[in-house]
Symmetry: C2
């Protein structure tokens, strides 16, 4: 058994966060794919509270919830050679990173997936979901300016906790915009976020994310039937 | 101006968390009461994202969100004389504390305030809210056994982050049970949580919480008119 295992599902944005945190810290790990339609004994015993992925197993001990996993990975493993930690070393920098990580968890993901759910609803509902998401992105643009310094990432020149929380959007946002037939005007309204997406696309971690094409097919085949009925 | 200020509201359970964290770490602070009906410039500029209390101001820098404030207080100030930090020193202990702190934030508070909201609804809705809360308390009892060791607190013999997150229930739960006309059978079903409440009542921090009698009047005068119409 590998020292570090990650109970995973390929399409889960929460699993992507855990995986990107592991890659950024240079931790070797083994992915253990799960089937949520038939939950494994390992999943049920290692995450008895939520029974969801991701679960990180480190020497048999389990850690659940993506933002808690990312912080655990940061604290349990040393910074990689020529690399940096995911959280700043000072208390105030840590608090700011946790604040924006939490904002992404609470508002951005809900906003993006609300747009997806609205894709098969009335034009009015879709417009409301889109306007709400634009307002959330406006706040996030402010957050990136507040803590990102000269950028391009939320922790400046290298990816940190906040970037880890947001990076699954690299894979998920394009197919959701496609499904809704609406595009967030990053270039016009959120230039720092646009530069953030570009920098993530050019980063090594982009290779651990699934392709937007595959997620687009997943939306059509697995999600559309749920919401369009 | 005091080095540490806390923008506060006397009845807010979130403010109580921040205040208890400060007291546990032995940090001197000044409370700056806020009026949410007419938000101060200080509140709007120090918490532009949520415009809510609590906000901790430390040498003019602001930290928002109760669990982030508690962790900041823990990291920014040394452990008090003869006292301990709010989070364990090891990465796994930190992850476990954050997991249960997050569970309380996401599930326990929602469950308790859902019971309050149900107090003026049908018997059926009230019963559903109560059953849901019992199930949440069952999970919390499991959590206390998982990380609390010999107790009585979630971090063993002294209060830590998880205790800070839950402690406002000491003040809020009795008047909510009274409003709903239902009592959680702690002694019969959740003996560790019952011992936790008893230990908190005997702890110094109990003195910074408002009395349940005062909260009961607040429920009747300020909350009941909102929900019973």
């Amino acid at each position: 058994m590998a020292e570090v295992q990650l109970l995973s599902l390929w399409a889960s944005p929460f699993v992507m966060r855990a995986e990107v945190a592991l890659v950024l810290k240079g931790v070797e790990y083994e992915k253990v794919p799960q089937d949520l339609a038939s939950k494994s004994e390992l999943l049920l015993t290692s995450n008895p509270v939520y029974k969801k992925v991701p679960v990180l197993l480190h020497n048999g001990k389990s850690v659940c919830e993506s933002s808690i996993i990312a912080q655990y990975v940061d604290e349990a493993f040393p910074a990689p050679k020529d690399g940096v930690d995911l959280l700043p070393s000072d208390a105030y920098g840590k608090a700011m990173a946790r604040f924006w990580a939490d904002y992404i968890d609470k508002k951005v993901f809900d906003g993006v997936f609300a747009l997806l759910k609205s894709a098969w609803k009335s034009e009015e509902e879709k417009k409301a979901a889109f306007e709400n998401l634009l307002s959330t992105m406006q706040t996030l643009e402010f957050g990136l300016a507040e803590i990102g310094g000269e950028g391009p990432f939320f922790s400046g020149g290298s990816m940190g906790l906040v970037d880890v929380m947001l990076v699954p959007m690299l894979a998920w946002l394009p197919p959701i915009e496609e499904a809704a037939g609406l595009q967030i005007p990053f270039a016009e309204r959120f230039p720092r976020l646009e530069a953030w997406f570009a920098a993530c696309k050019g980063h090594d971690v982009a290779s651990v994310l699934p392709s937007s094409t595959k997620l687009s097919e997943f939306i059509t085949q697995a999600i559309l039937p749920k919401y369009s009925s």
